[in-house]
Structure formats: C-alpha cells, structure tokens
C-alpha cells in the first residue's frame, strides 16, 4: 500500500507509520503534509479513499474531519467535492434505507462542522428535514404510525451525532440547535413509547415492565439532555480541531443542499391488530435497534462515566464489530484501543454480551462474537478474562429469567469459549447446582454446557476438567456408546432377532441393493414378526453399521435410506422410526440430532413427523430438564426455513437470468428481421434477405437464444412450483407446531384465572403442584425454588416465544389461517397467546 494510504488508514494509532508520536496533532500535521502533495499528484484517488476510511473507521471521524478542515484552507475545490460526495452518499443511503451509512454520514457531516467545512445553518436544515419526516410518519392522519421505527431511527441519528458537534452548534447557531432540540422533545411527546416486550433478555416483573421504563430513544434523549446541561462536554469524543482553531477559522464553509427522506409505505387499509403488527414488524426489520443494554454488572463495578460517554463507547464498539468483521487482528486491536481517556472493559463485555444475546437476532453469528471475545482475552490479558468471567457469573445468577433463545446462545458461546482455553473454569463454584432439582435452570445450564463441551472435545477430557467439582460428573452426558441390542457376546442369549440382524448385516457387507434388501425384509421378516420387530431390527442394524462416524452414517443412509422410506411411508410410522433412532442413540445427543437431521434431509422422515415425535409424551416430560428435544425441533424448523431461503435465492437468480435471456433473444430476432428485410443480390438477381450464410447463422442464433429463454423460463416455473409447495408445507408445519404447543400447554398450565402472566407462574406456590416430587435427593427443597410444573410451563412458553420470534417472517404470511385454526377459540390459554403475541410484537389488548 502506498505511503499516503497507510498514513490515512493508521492515523491516530500507535505504530510505525507515525514513529514514536501518539499525539493526534502530530499525526494530523504529518498526514496533512503528505496528503496535500498527494492531491496534486493524484487528486482523484485521495477523496474516495479518505471517505472510505471515515465511513469504515468511524471512531476516527474527528481526525479525518480536522484533516479535511486543513485541506479546505488550501484547496477549497477539493473539499467542496468531498462535501458533495458525502451528501450524495447520504441521499443514496436515505433512499435505500441503509441505516449504518445514514448514521455514520450524519455524524461525519456534524464533525465537518467543527472544522469549519460545513455551514452550520445547512446542517440544521438537514436535522430539521429528518425531524419533520419523523413527525409526519407518526401522525395518524398524514403518516403511518406503524412505521415509527423509521421515524425513531431518524431522530436517533440526529441525537447520536450531537456528541460530535453539539458544542460547536451551541456556540455558532445557538437558537437553531435549541429549535431542533425543542422539535425533538415535541416529537417525543407525539410518538408512542416503544414496548420491547418479547425482545427483553430477561423475563421481567410487571413493575419493571411499566411504561416508566425508558425505551432506547427516550433514554438517549435523557443522555443528550444531561450532555447539553453539561455544556456539551464529554470525554469520549476527541476534539483535535481545537489544536488548529486559529488556522481553521479562516476556512470557507460549504453548504449542504436539502435532502429528501424516505416516505413510509401507506398504512394498511384494514387496521386490524395483525395488519398493524405486520407493518410494525416490517419496519423493525428495516430499522432494527442496534443494541439493547445488558446491565449485568453491579454499578460499583462498571466504569464511572457520563451516560453519553457510555453511549459513544457502545457506538464505537458496535461500529468496529460491524466494519472490521473478518479482519481479526484489526478488530481486536481497535476494540482494545479506542480513543477514550477512561477504561471500558466492563462496558465492552456488556456490549459484546448484549450482541450475543440480542433478540430477535444480532447482526452476526455467535461464532463471530466468540472469536472477538477470545481475541480480546489475549489482547488484554490482565483485564479482560476476569471481566468475561464476571459476566458469566452475573448471567448465571439470572439464568432462570434469561430468554430461552439467548440462553441457548450463551451455552453455545460459553462451551466454545472454554474449549479454546483448555476447559478451565472454577466449576466448584457451581457444584451446588447438584442440590437443586433436576429442572432448576442453573442445573440445566451447567448440564448443557458440559454436553456441548463433550461434543467439542471428548468425555474423559471434560470429566478431567471438572476434577475439583467431581460431583458435577453426574451432569455429564452418558459416555457415548450406542445402545445396540444385537451385539454378539459370549454367554448371551442369541434370539431370533439377533439372527435377523446378523443376516441383514451380512447383506450389507455383500453390498446387496436396497431393493433386494427390501424384498427380503418384506418377504421374510415383516409377515412373520410384524412391523415393530421389523423396524427395530432394521433401524438397530443399519444404524450400527453407520455408527462409526458422521460419514459412515451418511453412507448408510445414502445406500439404504429407501429401506426406511419404504418401511415408514407415513407420519405415524415415521414417528416410530424416530423413536427407534432415539433409542439406538440414547447415549449420544449429538448423533441423535444429526441422524434425525439427515433423515429429514433425505425425506425419510417429514418435518411434521419430527414435530410429532418431539411432542410425544417421552419428550414432553423432558422439556424442562434437557435441551435435546428443542435442539431437534430447532434443526427441523431451521432446515425447513433454509430450504425456502435457498429456493427464493434460486428464483431471484433465475429471474435475473431470464431477463438477460429475454433481451438476447429479442436482439437476435430483431437482427434477423432486419436482415430479412434487406435486399441483396444473389447471382445477379435481387432477393429479399442477406446472403444465405449470414441468414443461416442469424436463424440459428434466434433458435438458440429462444431455446435458452424457454428453458430458463421452465426452470423458473419449476422452482416457483417447488416454492409454492414448500410454502404450503410450511403452513401445515406451523399449524401442527402451534397446535402441539397449545395442547401440551393447556394440559399443564394452571387455569387462566390463576395465571395471567409469566410472573404468576414464578410466584405460584410450588406446593400446589401435582408433579412436584423431590424425595429422591432427600434434600428439603428451598422455598425459593420453583416447582416442577411451573418450570415446565416457563421453559415451554419460553421456547414457544423463541421459535415464534425466530421465524416471525415466515409466520406472518400464514397469520390468517393460524388465527382461524389455532389462535382463536375459547379454550386457548391466554398465556399461550401472550407468548406468541409478544414474540410477534403484537400489542396485547
């Protein structure tokens, strides 16, 4: 990379580029010296790169802003073009609803005001345009209040750029900025408080859920007001322009031109709760809230900083995570070295965990945050590991209130994290969970973390890792041998089934075809032994043959899957097949899940059969004590969803290709027609059409392009048919899923009169529960522990919420049908509906 680029990129960093200096002023001067020369040499290249740096390293915006201010003194024209580009990009971002660009570019423009590049009044106009668009959107008559998410977002953008130029605005255009702030206050009074129920990390008591709790915008407004009352002074935004103030005053302002905001879609014609809910959902998907604060550390532990500084640091961290995704070294290094004069390890941990646990989903996979946390533990060895451990402890204490989806992600993160640090953890701190009932969330959490650790490593290793809390061994999964019924051991009785199994085994070894095997089964086993024995022998034997590894299993399913398929053609039989699979792999949760997943992939079992199996009594009893049934249900839903997404992607690709082919074919026809209408001389005679060779070529092109177009259209139709079928299968699946949830919940939930909210379940007197027996341990149960039935209900409702929220996009199109068949009727339990509606963000009436 050439020198000037490196200087731009690395400005403000401690490193070889800027020698020994870590002073921003030196950096800016050095960089300015090189850039001003570079502009003369290759002016066109500098500006895009500079903008790219400012957009992708937004924590350095004040440095870039000051640099541009200095350039403005010498080369007004260059800077005018930069301002024009920024503005053009900003308009594009507004038009396309590109949240990150809108936010960052507005901040950049505000920062350019500090270095006397942007005219203050014109920035105020930009603010006011955004504000008035927001006010119109939430207006019942003129706008569409369902799109409040967009309106809020615009206002959040204004507020969140004030830390970068509030002081200057207050000094240069005091009346105007005051007017903006008054306008924001007015907006806050007409918008609705946005309820976050269904997206909270923790199940909250009613008191905490009251409207007095601030939503994100209200909270940011408070922070901004306290910033304003503090004379717009804050620590987290560097103000390098102050060192150059004497020079910068001479700069000539550039005016921002007016902008145009995106208009929200019109409100639904039928203002039913569902239609409004659907629009709100769409708006939230478009303008998602970046962060939900996770206050897990006690106030005396976290860094004592101004509220607005907390906000700014969160912005820095989230932006580094966003823009440096995939650049491992830089990401960790920027996160660890933000340009702020205070420590922020606790804040950083809270921000990272808030992303891992974010609902409905974070911008990246858990895997990414896992990597970042590992890297930060290495980059800040003295400080960060202990903070991470503190976060784990704090979350563990609140685990019974943690959302089920978030909890699952925490388990995946934690097991993976420990696997990278030799599985060292002070387990003895948690060995007391063994004294808790087997459904206690803390105990289940430990058990599931150990389960995942064993999957990432191996049993003996994990057993060793809990050496100093050896009692916890009880929570380790069984040592993973399959439960094969027909092993030939000396001295053991050899039944007829043993012989059948041996025979089947021999046929596989001899590589008999699936068809031959099937006819042998149909002729010899089935008529004599009946379905159940046949199924047991076939499943046990074939799974045993494929038990050595994932690949062995796939190979057996590939070759003999049809045997299962023929034996179990309908859902009823497939449910039995799944029970057999689970019996064979009962000691290995991973292989159970993988086997079922592959069988669904080969369509040997349907997704409906999996749902039915998960909701069969043997599993329903496990809902609160094990994650396994939920993992399998989750896999089935995920696979169904992935297939729809694949088809949608295919269709969108083919549609593009069809357009291209259409054009090619039309061009070919036009060319042929043109040629046909031409007169040419053949052997001295004038004939219609060009010379025969060319005509032939043109005709063949018309044919070929035509065929290509037709064949593309055909494959498009085929894919669309598949998608339609997949969608109707999804509808059937969703119906079954919600019916199943509704049925098991109705059996176990207390009467509606006794349980109006999830909170009621928690406070319910455990003694009234019929299922609650804990004589096994002989431990007198602590009063604070929740009863078994109540925990079962909480876990099940929690998963119901989690799945509904995760697949909300797929659920909305089937809402009418679901409402008709599952969500209405007198015997539907209100808590069942509450779980679904909160997950879909539909307000309860």
């Amino acid at each position: 990379m050439s020198n000037w680029k490196t200087l731009l990129l690395r400005i403000g960093e401690k490193g070889p580029e800027y020698g020994t200096s870590s002073d921003f002023k030196d950096h800016i001067e050095t960089c300015f010296g090189v850039i001003r020369r570079e502009i003369e040499r290759s002016g066109d290249q500098v500006s895009p790169y500079l903008l790219q740096c400012a957009e992708q390293l937004p924590h350095k915006i004040p440095l870039y802003g000051t640099l541009i201010g200095l350039l403005n003194l010498e080369n007004e024209d260059f800077v005018r073009k930069i301002v024009e580009s920024v503005q053009a990009n900003f308009q594009v971002a507004l038009d396309s609803g590109n949240c990150n660009s809108i936010r960052i570019l507005l901040r950049f423009m505000t920062s350019l005001l500090c270095s006397k590049v942007v005219q203050p009044a014109s920035l105020i106009v930009v603010f006011e345009t955004l504000l008035s668009s927001a006010a119109t959107t939430v207006d019942e008559e003129k706008g569409n209040p369902s799109w409040q998410a967009q309106a809020d977002f615009y206002v959040i953008c204004i507020l969140s750029s004030l830390p970068w130029g509030g002081a200057e605005l207050a000094e240069q255009v005091p009346d105007e900025i005051e007017r903006v702030l008054v306008g924001i206050q007015a907006y806050l009074s007409i918008r609705k408080h946005s309820s976050s129920s269904g997206l909270n990390f923790f199940l909250k008591g009613e008191s905490e859920n009251s409207p007095s709790e601030k939503d994100f915008l209200e909270d940011l407004w408070d922070r901004t007001q306290s910033l304003a009352s503090n004379g717009w002074k804050l620590d987290s935004v560097p103000r390098p322009h102050l060192s150059f103030e004497a020079q910068l005053v001479a700069g000539k302002f550039h005016e921002l031109r007016p902008i145009k905001c995106m208009e929200p879609p019109s409100p639904p014609s039928d203002l039913s709760r569902e239609n409004i809910g659907k629009q709100k959902h769409d708006a939230l998907m478009r303008y998602p809230q970046r962060i939900r604060r996770l206050n897990i550390f006690p106030a005396n532990k976290t860094e004592d900083v101004q509220p607005i500084d907390r906000f700014v640091v969160e912005e820095y961290l989230l932006d580094v995570l966003l823009y440096l995704n995939g650049c491992r070294k830089e990401c960790a290094s920027y996160m660890a070295n933000l340009p702020v004069p205070f420590r922020y390890e606790y804040l950083m941990a809270e921000t990272l965990f808030s992303q891992i646990l974010l609902l409905p989903q974070p911008p990246f996979k858990t895997l990414y945050y896992t990597l970042v946390i590992m890297d930060l533990c290495k980059a800040l060895p003295g400080a960060f590991p202990a903070v991470v451990a503190g976060a784990v402890r704090a979350l563990f204490e609140k685990i019974s209130d943690l959302d089920m989806e978030s909890r699952t992600r925490l388990i995946l993160w934690f097991s993976h994290h420990l696997s990278n640090f030799q599985f060292i953890w002070p387990w003895e701190e948690w060995s007391y969970v063994l004294d808790l009932p087997k459904w206690a969330p803390k105990r289940v959490f430990v058990q599931e973390v150990l389960q995942r650790e064993v999957r990432l490593s191996y049993w003996d290793k994990i057993k060793q890792s809990i050496e100093n809390a050896s009692a916890l061994e009880e929570l380790l999964p069984a040592k993973a041998a399959p439960a094969y019924r027909y092993s030939l051991e000396e001295g053991k009785e050899k039944t007829e089934e043993h012989q059948l199994s041996a025979e089947l085994n021999r046929k596989v070894k001899e590589k008999q075809s699936a068809r031959d095997m099937m006819s042998w089964i149909e002729e010899t086993i089935y008529p004599v032994h009946g379905f159940e024995v046949t199924l047991t022998v076939v499943v046990q034997t074939l799974l045993e043959i494929g038990s050595k590894s994932f690949t062995h299993m796939v190979t057996v399913l590939e070759r003999y899957g049809q045997v299962f398929g023929k034996l179990c053609p309908d859902n009823d039989k497939q449910v039995m097949l799944l029970s057999q699979v689970s019996a064979y792999w009962k000691n290995n949760a991973q292989m159970t899940a993988v086997a079922m997943d592959r069988m669904m992939g080969y369509r040997l079992v349907s997704n409906q059969a999996i749902v039915r199996w998960v909701f069969s009594p043997e599993n329903v009893d496990q809902f609160h004590v094990s994650d396994q049934p939920w993992e399998i249900l989750g896999n089935a839903l995920n696979k169904t969803y992935n297939r729809i997404s694949d088809l949608r992607k295919d269709i969108s690709n083919i549609t593009k290709n069809v357009l291209v082919a259409e054009k090619a074919s039309a061009n070919a026809r036009a060319e042929l027609e043109a040629a046909e209408s031409k007169l040419s001389l053949v052997e001295g005679e004038p004939v219609l059409g060009e010379n025969p060779g060319k005509m032939k070529r043109l005709k063949s092109t018309v044919e070929k392009t035509g065929e290509a177009e037709v064949s593309l259209r055909e494959s498009l139709e085929a894919k669309e048919a598949l998608l339609n079928r997949a969608l109707s299968e999804t509808e059937a699946l969703l119906l079954l899923l919600f019916q199943s949830f509704s049925a098991v919940l109705k059996e176990r939930l207390p009467e509606p009169a006794k349980a109006r909210s999830m909170e009621d379940l928690k406070s319910e007197d455990g003694n009234s529960s019929a299922m609650e027996v804990d004589s096994e341990n002989g431990n007198p149960k602590k009063k604070t522990e929740i009863g078994e039935r109540e925990q079962w209900c909480l876990s099940t409702l929690g998963y119901l919420t989690a799945f509904t929220r995760q697949y909300a996009n797929e659920i909305w199109p089937h809402m009418e049908k679901l409402k008709l068949e599952v969500f209405s009727g007198e015997d539907v339990h209100p808590l069942f509906l509450q779980a679904i509606f909160s997950a879909l963000q539909i307000p309860l009436q």
């Binding site: 996979k365 990432l456 191996y458 003996d460």
Partner: protein, 245 residues
C-alpha cells in the same frame, strides 16, 4: 464490509499443485467454493467434533477426513463442505486460528473436493501442507498458543492456583499439543479408548465406503447429501443397482 483491510489478505496462501487450471481459475474456484480445507487437526479429532464446531457456521453437507495413504488413519487434515457460500466464508473468518482439541487449526477456502484428495500427499503419507510449509510450523505455533493461553486463563477467583496449572493435566496437554507430527504423544492411550479405534479396526470397510462414495458421487440424481431433498425426487433403485454392480 471491511474492504479497507481486505486487499491485504490473500484468499489462500496455498496453491494446490493438483489444480489443473490457471491461477485466475484457481482464485475463481476459491471465491465461489463452499468447501474449506482444515489443517493442523489432531490425529485423534473425530468427524463429530468437527461437525459440532463447524455446524456453528452453518449446515454441513459433508465431511471428508484426510487419511494417511499408508496407514489409512486420519493424518491431520480434513475437508468440510457447506451448503452455502456465506457459511463457508464465516467458517474461514471465524474458525481459522482457533483451538480444536488443543490445537490451533487453520481453515482455508478450498477449490473443491475431488476423489483422491483425502489421501495425505506427504512423503511419509501424511499431510503435505505441513511438510512443505516454511512460514508455519504447527508445533511451534501450538506450543506458543498454549503457553499464551495458560497465562491468560486467570479468572481472578483465587481458586485456580499454580498447583492446578502445574499439575499432571498441564504436562499431558503440552505433550499432546505438540506431538502430532512426531509420534503420538502423551494422551495416546486415553484418546485411543475414546476413539474405539474407529479408523484402525475396520480399515477394509472404511476403504470400501470411500470407494462407494466415489461411485455415488458421479450419480447426479437424486442429489447426494441434500440439505433437504425435494419430495418429487424419488430414488431410482434400478439405476442405483447398476451403479454398484
């Protein structure tokens, strides 16, 4: 995203000599492939461990263990095939350089698995990339990483004293981490038990599976290892039989 630093990063430092096309074709293959090559894997790491780790990046289509061409046992590398390119990219971005079975594994885009590539190409029958690598010595890296980690794992509880770290566990792990290429290390026996000798005991079947898979890979319909097979696709017994005979 993050295009500022991307230009510095190469798609893969390794150029496979088996790839028959040009450098451009090779790079194009890497850019579109949904296969990753995983190196510096412990000889004892199982497919299931790999499945657990890599399924966190996305649904896995297939895993192919790299085998020593002489002993037919895993020799420290494997291929993982995903269904989607995006998941493949995430696996490279987020898993490479992290620890699996005490070893920092490396994850690279791969131009696509072909039959035969599961065999180690080293002179000893093992993993060639490590044999010819000069910029990257897995043993040294592994020891360094482990040492670094040891210093990091301090959760400030006071209960994790030196006694624990210096204990028998510590010693064994150092051995394992660095033992891969030069004989089988400290916890050979323990791991052996776990593995149930799954590759050694039944080489003949293992090989025949690989043979079978090679055959079936040519058979384009119905799709092999489907993410979710379309219900219209039916297995054609006849064709299957013909293929196998």
């Amino acid at each position: 995203m993050a295009s500022l630093f991307k230009e510095q990063a190469k798609l893969s430092a390794y150029r496979d000599r088996r790839f028959s096309g040009t450098q451009e074709e090779f790079e194009e293959a890497l850019r579109t492939s949904s296969t990753v090559y995983i190196g510096n894997v412990s000889f004892y790491t199982t497919e299931e461990q790999i499945y657990e780790l890599f399924s966190r990046a996305g649904e896995i289509k297939k895993i192919i263990m790299g085998l020593d061409k002489n002993t037919k046992t895993p020799c420290g590398f494997c291929f993982v095939l995903f269904y989607s390119r995006e998941d493949t990219e995430d696996a490279v971005k987020y898993v490479s350089g992290t620890i699996l079975d005490d070893r920092p594994i490396r994850v690279d885009f791969d131009w696509g698995f072909q039959e035969g590539r599961q065999w180690g190409r080293g002179r000893s029958g093992g993993q060639v990339r490590d044999e010819y690598r000069t910029d990257y010595d897995p043993d040294i890296l592994s020891l360094k990483e482990l040492e670094a980690q040891r210093q990091l794992v301090d959760y400030g509880t006071g209960s994790l004293g030196d006694e624990r770290r210096g204990g028998p566990r510590g010693g064994g792990e150092y051995g394992q981490g660095g033992s891969n290429r030069h004989g089988r290390g400290g916890d050979f026996h323990r791991k052996r038990q776990r593995d149930d000798d799954r590759y050694g005991r039944d080489n003949s079947r293992r090989n025949s599976d690989h043979e079978t898979r090679r055959d079936s890979d040519h058979d384009m319909r119905p799709e092999k290892n489907p993410r979710f097979r379309e219900s219209g696709d039916s297995d054609d017994d006849g064709e299957d039989d013909r293929k196998r005979s």
